[in-house]
Amino acid sequence: MASYFSPQYLAVLLPATVGLYAITPQRARRVILLLASYAFFWAVSGSLIVYLLFSTLSIHHLGLWLELTARNGKERLALAESDQRKAIRAGIQRQQRGIILLAVVIHIGLLLTLKYSHFFLSNGNALLRFLHMPAILPVPSFLLPIGISFYTLQAVSYLIDVYRGKIQADHNLFRLALFLGFFPQMMEGPICRYEQTAQRLWEAPPMCWNNFLLGGQRILWGIIKKMVVADRLNIFILNVFSDYDQYNGSIIAVAAICYTIQLYMDFSGTIDVALGSAQLFGVALPENFQRPFFSRTISEFWQRWHITLGTWFKDYIFYPVSMSKPMKKLTSKARKRFGPRYGPILTSSVALLCVWLCNGLWHGSAWNYIFFGLYHFALIFAGNLVQPLVLTVTERLHIDRNHIAYRLMQTLRTCVLVCIGELFFRAEGLKNGLKMAWRIVTDWSFSPILKGNLFAYGIDGPDTVLVALFLVFLLVVGIMQERGVKLGETLVSKSWPVRIAVYYAAICFLVIFGAYGIGYIPVDPIYAGF
């Protein structure tokens, strides 16, 4: 089972789980979900499931430990004299912080070891060679279990939320196991918070027709996005990115745009399948995308793209760093020095830098991901710096910042910046990414595009027309969604002949225009590799 798009998942595991779920009584349903989750994990990663089991046991135990510390502390507080309370409080906090530190070391440490030891050790060796010392560090390679980058973040967020008192520690090991291992979120997220899904999963609500339709629709929509567009663009992208020095700069630019489209279609399509699958069981996973290409700024883009990762970094890195005591002191000093507008930029930039280094590294252990992170850091930092200036200038020139033309300009600029970032993201190593960008700048000519040479590189005329039409359709859908139209619900509320006609049309569209079979190489789910 390579992905949610494989026949094993769509034709065997998912229907079997839905069927069993529908006919079992309430108390057994959660067991079905857990068994299906572990079956899925097993089918993808085999015995590596021990990592997931270990993480589950570990956060269960550490959560209880945190709670115990708090309870003991409270008892001591109740008995203590008022002048001792402060010391006791500090003691509890120290102890709890110790537990959190331990949890972070275990979980993030495991992730780092499995995912990054190769990168760090081989770079260490390169450094040693550079210093004319023998490269002696052993470079191991581990097999990565599916979804470890995603469920590790869920595990850590659970413990920190317990520590912060946002949620109670869960005594029920099985509820935690289901929260951590629920199969629709396992491959590419979304990264869920305990309070978002754990209780709902445990309740295992009865199947209902409405959820069944909503979920099924969404799965179909996700498959269409992935198979019609992402897979169709794959060969062209493979060709250009693997042999970029054969291509004119304009072709490379087109490939960067195509890759951005592909990544969005693949990732958001997979998320649609994940959210749809969960919806079948009446469980609402958090949304991961909110029409990111409508964003006016890069900062807004990251509030709309891979939302659950962005909010995770915000809640567990950005705010803790920027609101820690030393940083707050720095902020007030900077405000006095640089004024209330520029002062906070300095401190928030430190936090922002942490976030973007982590973001880059989270995607993979390679320099181009780190570059990708720093690139977005630089863009957001620059955006923050010039924002007051832009406000003044537009004010002086009487430019209406809410005018459609101004907003379109902003959106277009954001899309271009994103595409440039994705070029480095996709490039096979940072060096190649830089060379590709260099080619775009130095070796640019419109003639390959105008002459239609493009069509010789793995995508033909009809493909291009199809993709373009689909994007226009997506644009219309996006505008409707921005205006608050809930298309899924609207469709479900229609009479059954209309619904069935739409479903038949969508399935036939997929069957005819899907990029599968002879002559196509489907793209592996991109984010499952992270």
Partner: protein, 76 residues
């Protein structure tokens, strides 16, 4: 409340804080604005805003912010 609105408008003069109800959900405020707001509020109202309070709900409108400030002042 007056004082709060003044502070907010100084940070983002382009926004209508008195009426906007989706400052976070509507992508009007970014994280830098939030850091600035927290810093200003801590100074002006002599409170400490813990990280747990930095959630969309508290920052979606001036009213919610005001409620948070009052709560934190009481807890003092």
């Amino acid at each position: 409340m007056e004082q709060l609105l003044e502070i907010l408008e100084e940070i983002r003069p382009d926004l209508d804080f008195a009426n906007c109800q989706d400052l976070i959900d509507g992508h009007h405020l970014n994280s830098l604005d939030i850091i600035s707001i927290v810093a200003e509020l801590e100074d002006a109202f002599d409170i400490t805003v813990p990280t747990v309070e930095v959630i969309p709900h508290n920052f979606n409108s001036a009213q919610n912010l005001w409620a948070m400030i009052q709560r934190l002042q009481e807890e003092g």
